[in-house]
């Protein structure tokens, strides 16, 4: 699979009837949030409960979702470009690694790992370059956040 952005328009893969799907998802989400809001207490307009505003919004969201779905049936949209999944997955994974790593493994190890994974989002990534970049970032972050701002961010893997 090539990066979608660099393909000629007709070669881009398209998803059929995307707005119909989007509309249905919006309706489903509105319903879900609405059901949750039922338990919060509706109250009266004069004395609104915690559920009044969210429930009203969910009703509105459901209507708008239905309008979107209806519109897509009346007038089919051309469809979306297939996005760059590789980039999305590696960027997301990098955040996951940072979130999981920062407390047990400390700033230096985690930032180098995060940089390495994030740079894999790009096909031209070179491991040595990424390691160097990660080390430089770790030092810069250490200077700004720990030395200058004095934040107690764990620096090295914690001793068990």
């Amino acid at each position: 699979m090539q990066d979608g952005h660099f393909l000629a328009p007709r070669q881009r893969r398209r998803i059929d009837r995307p707005d119909l799907v989007a509309g249905l998802v919006v309706i489903a989400l509105s319903f879900l949030f609405g059901v949750l809001a039922l338990g919060y207490g509706f109250g009266t307009p004069r004395q609104m409960g915690a559920g009044f505003f969210p429930l009203t919004l969910c009703a509105l969201g459901g209507l708008l979702g239905a309008a979107l779905a209806a519109k897509s049936v009346l007038r089919p949209e051309p469809g979306f470009e297939r996005p760059d999944l590789r980039r999305f997955l590696f960027v997301s994974a990098a955040f996951l690694v940072f979130g999981l790593g920062i407390e047990p493994a400390g700033l230096f190890v985690t930032l180098v790992a995060t940089t390495l994974i994030a740079s894999l989002a790009h096909r031209d990534a070179k491991v040595v370059e990424s390691l160097a970049l990660g080390a430089a970032l770790a030092v810069a972050v250490w200077v700004v956040f720990v030395l200058l701002l004095g934040l107690p961010i764990p620096l090295w893997p914690a001793a068990r």
Binding site: M48, P54, L64, G65, G99, T114, L151
Partner: protein, 500 residues
């Protein structure tokens, strides 16, 4: 004059080494991020938000504002030199600016853009200085019903003026408001949508939300342009000097551009991007040679450039004087104020007058900094366009992670960025814009509070929204903004045409 004394006080507050430093750092970072294609002022503000928590409120706001209008400048540099707008509002500068560059007059275009931006920005600041206090006083007469109606108008206007589908923008607004409901309801103490996470009792963190939407989602979808290739600019100061003819032809367009920009900055939801487009089309319409627009004439550069910077400044008027932001960037700015413990609203002008005037003074100084940064240092910025994307991803990801973690030293917030980022990514694929979502998130809780209070005072009578003139006018305008596109769509449909 009263205003002059207050402004003098503002200057006294800004002309401290610290505040000057933060102002300079803000505009320099803003220009930096603006120059990089595909990254906007939003990402800059989101990245810097956590750092500003450690600063006093005035320094924090001065710096964030600097990023915003610095970003507006920086975007134009990229637009002119490589025909890729660094920020959306710079897209118009591509039309004639890049043509000028191809004719070997890129340096003149950059100079003209910097000067036009400075003049436009300055006019915007003068208007802000003169009118904000009056608007603030007027806003003091607002009741909760009026506030609610103004916010409805702001959100609907924001949704109806988007690049994509207005319907999708409205949906984004609704879900943004719902995201704002997460946490403890202030009036009843009920916990909403917290799903058992005690970290969510205080609501979703604004920093995490902004970073997910404008950091993760943005980075994952930003287009690589390969724009830097082939640009070899060595620009000397002498190349930048415009001819006497250029100057003569620039004066009136700058004036008109500033006027258009100042007006549009104040209106809800319009802001810098639309201001620059409109200023360009105004110039083209009144020109005796409209066919020359797009061929590299200086009018096509200075008019939109003065307009977008004027709008960037006057956009602060509703945000600061009334407490209702007109755009997503302003909403983020308002959020930053709230995080600093400064409640938005007309009281801000009286209760936090020092901060307001310091901010106004910082605009003057920041715009001067930009002139200095842009004209002699433009060669430095040009080199930035060459930074390969494979370095940008990791740097942005790491800075976001550390930044959001540093706020509360909680990994939970990093996971919130991830979750919001995935949502933002899906929204982007589906054509739902992030900016209306953010506006809903920030305005939602205020809307609920004002609706609740209005209804309590009116004893549950919804008629109160129609009996107050301010509220009735706003709701009528909001209705209009909703109905006009719908009618247009249906009419096109009936005629069997393809709606635009």
């Amino acid at each position: 004059m009263d205003v002059l004394a207050l402004l003098a006080g503002g200057f006294a507050a800004v002309l401290t080494p610290q505040n000057l430093f933060y102002c300079f750092a803000g505009v320099a970072l803003g220009t930096f991020i603006g120059v990089l294609p595909g990254l906007g002022a939003m990402l800059g503000i989101a990245l810097l938000l956590p750092l500003t928590f450690h600063l006093p409120p005035d320094a924090a706001i001065i710096m964030l504002a600097g990023i915003y209008y610095g970003g507006e400048y920086g975007g134009s540099i990229t637009a002119i030199l490589v025909n890729v707008p660094g920020t959306p509002s710079a897209a118009v500068a591509c039309l004639d600016g890049n043509r000028m560059a191809r004719q070997g007059r890129g340096a003149v275009a950059l100079f003209a853009s910097a000067v036009a931006s400075f003049i436009g920005g300055s006019i915007g600041i003068v208007l802000m200085t003169l009118f904000s206090p009056a608007i603030g006083r007027f806003a003091l007469s607002f009741t909760s019903a009026d506030y609610f109606a103004v916010m409805v108008l702001g959100l609907i206007a924001a949704a109806s003026i988007t690049n994509g589908s207005a319907l999708k923008a409205l949906i984004a607004v609704v879900f943004g408001i719902l995201a704002g409901m997460v946490g403890t309801d202030v009036s009843t103490g009920v916990q909403r949508y917290a799903m058992g996470f005690h970290e969510l009792i205080g609501g979703i963190s604004l920093v995490a939300l902004a970073m997910g939407l404008f950091g993760l989602a943005e980075v994952a979808t930003a287009r690589e342009t390969g724009a830097g290739e082939g640009v070899r600019y060595r620009i000397g100061l002498r190349d930048m000097l415009p001819t006497r003819e250029d100057l003569r032809r620039s004066i009136l367009p700058i004036g008109r551009g500033s006027a258009v920009g100042s007006l549009l900055g104040v209106l809800p939801a319009t802001g810098a991007t639309i201001a620059s487009y409109l200023a360009y089309s105004v110039e083209k319409r009144i020109s005796r040679h409209p066919e020359r627009f797009g061929t590299g004439i200086i009018e096509g550069v200075v008019a939109p450039e003065s307009a977008n910077n004027a709008a960037a400044q006057t956009g602060f008027i509703p945000t600061l004087a009334i407490g209702i932001p007109g755009s997503a960037t302003m909403a983020l700015m308002l959020g930053a104020l709230m995080i600093q413990g400064i409640p938005p609203g007309p009281q801000l002008m009286t209760r936090n007058a020092d901060l307001f005037w310091a901010l106004v003074a910082s605009f003057w100084i920041g715009n001067l900094f930009l002139l200095v940064l842009n004209i002699p240092l433009v060669g430095l910025w040009v080199r930035l366009v060459h930074i390969p994307y494979r370095y940008l991803f990791p740097v942005i990801v790491c800075l976001i992670s550390v930044g959001v973690y540093s706020v509360a030293l909680s990994s939970f917030d990093v996971f919130v960025v991830l979750a919001v980022g995935i949502l933002g990514y899906l929204m982007r694929i589906g054509g739902f814009e992030a900016a209306p979502f953010l506006m809903g998130f920030i305005l939602g809780p205020m809307m609920e509070e004002n609706l609740r209070r209005a209804m309590q005072l009116a004893r549950g009578d919804f008629g109160v929204f129609l009996s107050r003139p301010i509220s009735a006018t706003c709701l009528a305008l909001a209705m209009l903004a909703l109905v006009v596109p719908l009618v247009r769509f249906l009419r096109m449909k009936l005629r069997g045409g393809v709606p635009v």
